[in-house]
């Protein structure tokens, strides 16, 4: 090293870090509560007209009335019945068709173009057709949800099967596993993460279609309640109905999260 003045020591500037969001549990509820409080305050001071947007307390009152009248569970029950029936049937059929499209070339060649053609059609646009086919009653509402759920499920299952590591499949074959064992013990568990994230999407689609279907000729149901409230300009009831839907969505999301945590616990 050449002789000379001693070089000045400087610490190296830090330039890493970031890009790693971490969960901060308390912030979500705080934002939620703050917004509600501001809203309530705005309504109380008359800054927000009750005609435009009712106060949260008014909506809560509407919800209480609904509960007292005993209609809450009637609406909710009717909605849940359609939701569960439509979602389960759509999911079962979607899984069945998705598995065959994922495993068999012939099924894939037939199903995939069909799914691509029908999936983008808003099922609400077909609702009048469903009413003609299945009548004005429950069947047309369940059918709307069924078709809304069926196609994304097929896509999720087929994609999930495509993404299963073929090395694991070859391993199974190299140990002489039966075809059914390869499907049951390697392909399906491998596709499960993709199938479950498909469930999150189809559950939201099911709730959206539920409300749409209930807005046409339903006596009971959260969608019917909201429609009625809207027709009467009872905005407090409308907000109450929307809050029920939001809670429904959260509840379904929570259930799927639990299922994921249980079924995919091997991911740690």
């Amino acid at each position: 090293m050449p002789e000379g003045p001693v070089p000045q020591a400087r610490s190296v500037a830090f330039r890493g870090g970031g890009f790693a969001p971490r969960p901060v549990g308390i912030v979500g509820p705080i934002v939620f509560v703050t917004l509600l409080l501001l809203w309530e305050l705005g309504s109380r001071t008359g800054w927000i007209s009750a005609l435009i947007l009712p106060a949260p307390s008014a909506a809560l009152g509407a919800l209480e009335d609904l509960y007292r009248s005993g209609l809450l569970f009637k609406h909710l029950g009717a909605s849940l019945e359609r939701l569960v029936l439509g979602w389960c049937l759509g999911t079962l059929a979607g899984i069945g068709v998705g598995i065959s499209a994922g495993l068999f070339s012939l099924a894939r060649a037939g199903v995939v173009p069909l799914v691509s053609a029908i999936f983008p059609i808003p099922k609400i646009a077909l609702l009048p057709l469903f009413i003609i086919w299945f009548g004005i009653g429950e069947a047309s509402k369940v059918a709307t949800i069924f078709f809304g759920v069926f196609f994304p499920t097929v896509i999720a299952v087929t994609g999930g099967i495509d993404n299963v590591d073929r090395g694991l499949v070859r391993m199974g074959q190299s140990f002489g596993l039966r075809w059914s064992s390869v499907v049951r013990k390697i392909i399906l568990p491998g596709a499960l993460p993709a199938i479950l994230s498909g469930f999150r999407i189809t559950a939201s689609i099911a709730i959206i279609l539920l409300v749409a279907a209930e807005m046409i000729g339903a006596e009971f149901g959260v969608g019917a309640y909201i429609l009625m409230a809207g027709n009467l300009m009872a905005t407090d009831q409308l907000i109450a109905g929307v809050a029920i839907l939001s809670a429904l969505g959260l509840g379904v999301g929570w259930l799927i999260g639990r299922a994921e945590r249980f079924l995919l616990r091997w991911r740690g």
């Binding site: 140990f175 596993l177 064992s181 568990p189 491998g190």
Partner: protein, 255 residues
């Protein structure tokens, strides 16, 4: 049971991968196959185990596999190929479930192979919790559980760091010394080949042909003490391969 590869050639589309490969794997011996990258080593192994069909020639079993062998030709893969959703025991159990075995017998086999691979305490662990070396030991346990007549090992140590590789090599030698198994061992690591092979087959670059067959007569267990002669052997193999490896390195993949 011996294995005989009779003039095996293979091509993918228009690309010739293997050309007239012919050798025998004798029972109780480990045959190492080395060659530059892309010379068709792994393809050769897939042909031997029946995961692919050779374009010409045949892979022949000479003699019957032992009656208690549940899967005569059994692979050990470079990437372990463990099911992440099954525990160590579950992964071994997977390959036994299609055989007629009662619960007790199956559990006894699993206990036995886990003990032989020093995994007894880790039966309930999931693969993600294990180090690379442990994962490969699970794969070895799984392979042993079906009583293979011949192990087909596709670069089994290549995904591991060099220290783990040393340890696992010792484990393999110990396993073989206690109960000699037959194996086809594909590797690009000459050190592994001279430590584990009774016979080393040197393949040329694509299309893979047999360039040389080197027999190593030293007993497996004593080899770590014979560093000098092993190094001379390794040097000789490297001289055989150097030109080929250099040429293979400068080839375009799809040319």
């Amino acid at each position: 049971m011996d294995l005989h590869l009779s003039h095996v050639s293979h091509r993918y589309g228009g690309v010739e991968v293997l050309d007239d490969v012919d050798f025998t794997v004798a029972q109780g011996h480990i045959v190492c196959i080395i060659g530059p990258s892309g010379c068709g080593k792994s393809t050769l192994l897939r042909l031997i185990g029946g995961l692919e069909k050779p374009s010409a020639g045949a892979v022949l079993q000479l003699g019957e596999p032992p009656a208690d062998s549940r899967n005569p030709l059994t692979y050990i893969f470079q990437d372990f190929a463990l099911l992440p959703w099954r525990t160590v025991r579950g992964n071994v159990s997977l390959v036994l479930e299609d055989h007629v075995l009662d619960q007790g017998a199956r559990a006894a086999i699993i206990d036995d192979v886990l003990r032989r691979t020093k995994l007894s305490e880790f039966g309930d662990a999931f693969p993600r919790q294990l180090s690379g070396g442990m994962k490969q030991r699970v794969a070895i346990a799984r392979a042993l559980s079906v009583n293979p007549a011949c192990l087909l090992m596709d670069e089994p140590l290549s995904a591991l760091d060099s220290q783990t590789r040393e340890l696992l090599m010792d484990d393999l030698i110990e396993l073989w010394s206690r109960e000699p198994f037959t194996a086809c061992y594909v590797t690009h690591n000459l050190g592994e080949a001279v430590r584990l092979g009774h016979k080393v087959i040197v393949l040329s670059r694509r299309p893979g042909r047999i360039r040389e067959v080197v027999d190593i007569d030293l007993p497996l267990a004593g080899r770590s003490a014979e560093r000098a002669s092993l190094e001379a052997l390794q040097e000789r193999l490297w001289r055989l391969m150097r030109e080929e490896a250099l040429a293979a390195d400068q080839e375009l993949a799809d040319a």
